[in-house]
Symmetry: C2
Subunit: 193 residues, 2 copies
């Protein structure tokens, strides 16, 4: 069995688990059900994954890591504040729209993670939040943004993250347009000038 | 047994269930565990509640109904747009801070509701969203707000609802202050004027 097929199989199993966990809950999904959906015996499933918690960890960590890599690229690219914020928002909304099951599982179930798994996911989340803070701080330093309370970052992330619950990928409004609408409101306010 | 003690017991059981569901998941909490935590036999538990799903329904519906009643009062009180929006945000953040387990269970687990239970909770949620839309529409009609995309309501609710995940009731910032900080950003934007 080649490395590619090992990694490919692993990714496939994580995807199947994300859908099952999103539908029936992490605690509501048994290893037997996972084996059946993946078309693998328990031994083979264990070979690829190790434990149900590893699946939850992979589901959660993979997307947050991607968002961190995306934010790092944008922060390092010399974009101006407004483009930086809009780019970060678009990256997140696109990823959520493409991986709704994964994000639903992450938001609903990450508290079921234990020990190091939980610590690593929480640390990755905090890193992502830190990148948003950096982007805002840079805007303040450049005189583009007014100083804002630290907790506003949580509000912005709530605005964006919450899309996992309601965004319709085939609806009238696309992720980029939505990100821009949110950023328009956030940058310039909704009060009549 | 008086009516009061029936209602009181019911409320107590719903509160216990909210904490257990928040900690171990809805699917991860058994009726035996609920009976034990409530100090009641299965028969008595059934007398007060009927089924585990009824508990999930009560946990979810009670808080959304309270928020609807709160929004109706404010919308009917002739407040100006800005005070109306700030009042609605404060009411929601206060309720979330006081009932974090209930909101966590609602956001994570309401998809486990079935049939009429689910329909009623979804309808109550949509009514609440409708009240926010009304408040914004009123502001636009009064010339206080600029016209905003319909989906912004979901962004505002995301900002506020997401606090169930991170708000520290004993932290430095209180719910009213936080609601005002969010509304400041939303009304006037974060761009340096």
């Amino acid at each position: 069995m080649s490395t590619t097929s090992y990694a490919g199989n692993r990714e496939r199993i994580v995807g199947i688990a994300a859908e099952l966990f999103a539908r029936n809950g992490y605690h509501g999904t048994g290893v037997a059900e996972l084996s059946k959906a993946a078309g693998l015996g328990r031994g083979a499933l264990y070979h690829y994954i190790g434990s149900k918690e590893t699946l939850l960890y992979e589901i959660s960590k993979t997307q947050v890591d991607r968002m961190n890599a995306h934010a790092e690229t944008l922060l390092g690219s010399g974009l101006e504040t407004e483009d930086l914020l809009r780019g970060m928002a678009k990256g997140l909304l696109r990823n959520i729209a493409e991986h709704r099951s994964e994000w639903a599982v992450f938001f609903r179930e990450y508290t079921a993670l234990t020990g190091e798994n939980r610590d690593r996911v929480v640390a990755a989340r905090e890193r992502y939040e830190g990148y948003w803070r950096q982007a805002l701080d840079r805007g303040v330093a450049d005189g583009v943004l007014r100083p804002v309370p630290r907790l506003l970052v949580k509000g912005i992330l709530g605005m964006l993250n919450y899309t996992y619950l309601w965004f319709e990928p085939d609806g009238e409004v696309g992720t980029d347009e939505l990100a821009d609408a949110f950023l328009d409101a956030l940058l310039d306010g909704i009060r009549q000038g």
